[in-house]
């Protein structure tokens, strides 16, 4: 059961529809406590970073608890940005802070002076992090982008972006290189919109749904303590 966190940031219906097409079971949690029994969490979103402030202390704690217990989590677009420390778009709104780094605005110019249109809207390509790089987030096996051919086009729409850190499993360039996908333990994120990226995007969501379906849940093995 995948929890789709609704915090008023838009693309919930599209993500729900895409997960439905994949046959995934989805709930929309009404309160943070509802995250306790799910096997996966998706934080969708599109728009202004300030909107994430509606994910208050209760939600933050519940998500952190779930991550601590190994529950697979996928942040999409704004939902991925929220996983970092914070964003220049809303300096007073803290991110969840499970990935180090700060979200910054994409430049209006390339290093060579060429003009760049912002927001970055449309289909751009994924360049995978070399799987043999020591910094690779999951040198064992990158799971989020499993089966996605390098150079695949996916759909972006954003003006702010995450830095390339050792959590970055794929990058894209628009004015500068930025993290298009991140993966660190159970915490996954994509700057692009898998729910709007055709068959490639559905494959990414299917990878997440598979991780969620194989996660045993927090109840496993805990009976003795109850």
């Amino acid at each position: 059961m995948i929890a789709l966190v609704d915090y008023g940031a838009g693309n919930l219906a599209s993500v729900r529809k895409a997960l439905g097409a994949l046959g995934a079971q989805v709930i929309e949690p009404r309160s943070p406590g509802d995250l306790r029994d799910v096997t996966g969490i998706i934080v969708p979103g599109v728009g202004h970073f300030g909107v994430t402030s509606s994910l208050d202390e209760g939600w933050r704690d519940a998500v952190l608890d779930a991550i601590g217990a190994g529950t697979p989590l996928l942040g999409i677009c704004l939902g991925m940005q929220w996983l970092f420390d914070g964003s220049d778009e809303a300096p007073n709104t803290p991110g969840l802070g499970v990935l180090p780094g700060r979200i910054t605005r994409l430049p209006r110019q390339c290093p060579d002076g060429a003009r760049v249109k912002i927001p970055h809207v449309g289909w751009n390509r994924l360049e995978m992090a070399p799987s043999d790089a020591p910094s690779h987030p999951a040198s064992a096996s990158p799971r989020l982008l499993a089966g996605i051919p390098p150079g695949s086009y996916v759909y972006f729409t954003h003006a702010y972006a995450a830095p390339i850190t050792d959590a970055c499993s794929a990058r894209t360039v628009h004015g500068q290189a930025f993290a298009a996908a991140v993966e660190r333990g159970p915490v996954w994120g994509v700057q692009f919109h898998p729910e709007k990226s055709g068959p490639v995007g559905l494959s990414v969501l299917a990878n997440f749904a598979r991780a969620a379906s194989t996660y045993a849940g927090r109840g496993a093995g805990s009976e003795a303590r109850c």
Partner: protein, 253 residues
């Protein structure tokens, strides 16, 4: 090479639940079922779908929720919806029905703060400002009400104003070229596209693969939209994309 691809967008002008197509904004004829056409274009590799309710502003109705929902149901690519979006509530309704973006035109000209209100609620990426412009000597005059009522705005000035108000994209239609299949107005498109920092979609006049190449080179367009050329099966989406890729224009194949 990691480069943002130029987008090909299919426009479904919808009236009473059917796709229609006219010439120079008039003389509408039936071109099919919106959901069926959207599905076909999606399978052919279209990058985005736009649904415009062409009757809405004229007859003061909102684009049919049912049409939007039917088109969105089987689509996993971006969908923009316009026609008769007059208020924030209208925008919320089509977004709720499955649209990723709303396109505003006449209502934004009457009250530009509408652009900001929609952007504040749904983000700039959800607001497309549609501009219908016609040549008048050396300038381009913006019209409202499906191109029928000239305004005091020039196309470049209005595009800049829309950007400053929070528009995420400009959908720029040449009233002169629309429906003629004689090519996009690349002078108009380049003038607007180089004047703003947000993406500009060229619209009106597509009749051959060459016209798309011109829009992306001479016209400096970020995306190009067409209707008849796709509806009439004059050229398939895939064949146009291959044509553009062969000319080193970045395209998602």
């Amino acid at each position: 090479m990691l480069t943002l691809a130029k987008r090909l967008i299919a426009c479904l002008d919808v009236r009473d639940g059917r796709v229609v197509k006219g010439v120079n904004f008039e003389g509408l004829r039936d071109a099919g079922d919106p959901a069926a056409l959207a599905t076909r274009y999606n399978e052919e590799g279209i990058d985005e779908i736009v649904v415009l309710d062409v009757a809405a502003t004229l007859e003061r109705r909102l684009a049919l929720r049912q049409t939007v929902a039917a088109v969105a149901a089987r689509l996993f690519i971006p969908l923009a919806v316009g026609g008769g979006i007059r208020t924030l509530e209208d925008a919320a309704e089509v977004i709720d029905a499955g649209a990723d973006k709303v396109s505003v035109n006449t209502a934004a000209l009457a009250d530009p703060s509408l652009i900001t209100r929609i952007a504040d609620r749904f983000g700039s990426q959800a607001v497309v400002v549609a501009i219908d412009a016609a040549r008048a000597g050396d300038s381009f005059v913006v019209s409202s009400h499906s191109g029928r009522v000239p305004t005091s705005w020039g196309a470049v000035a209005w595009a800049r104003e829309a950007e400053s108000r929070g528009a995420g994209e400009i959908l720029l239609t040449s009233i002169d070229a629309d429906g003629t299949q004689r090519g996009f107005d690349c002078v108009l498109t380049a003038a607007v596209s180089t004047a703003v920092s947000i993406p500009v979609i060229a619209s009106g006049g597509a009749g051959s693969p060459d016209h798309f190449a011109e829009a992306f080179t001479a016209g400096c367009a970020d995306a190009a939209l067409a209707a008849s050329i796709f509806h009439d099966r004059a050229c398939s989406v895939r064949s146009i994309k291959q044509f553009l890729a062969d000319r080193a224009i970045p395209i998602r194949l």
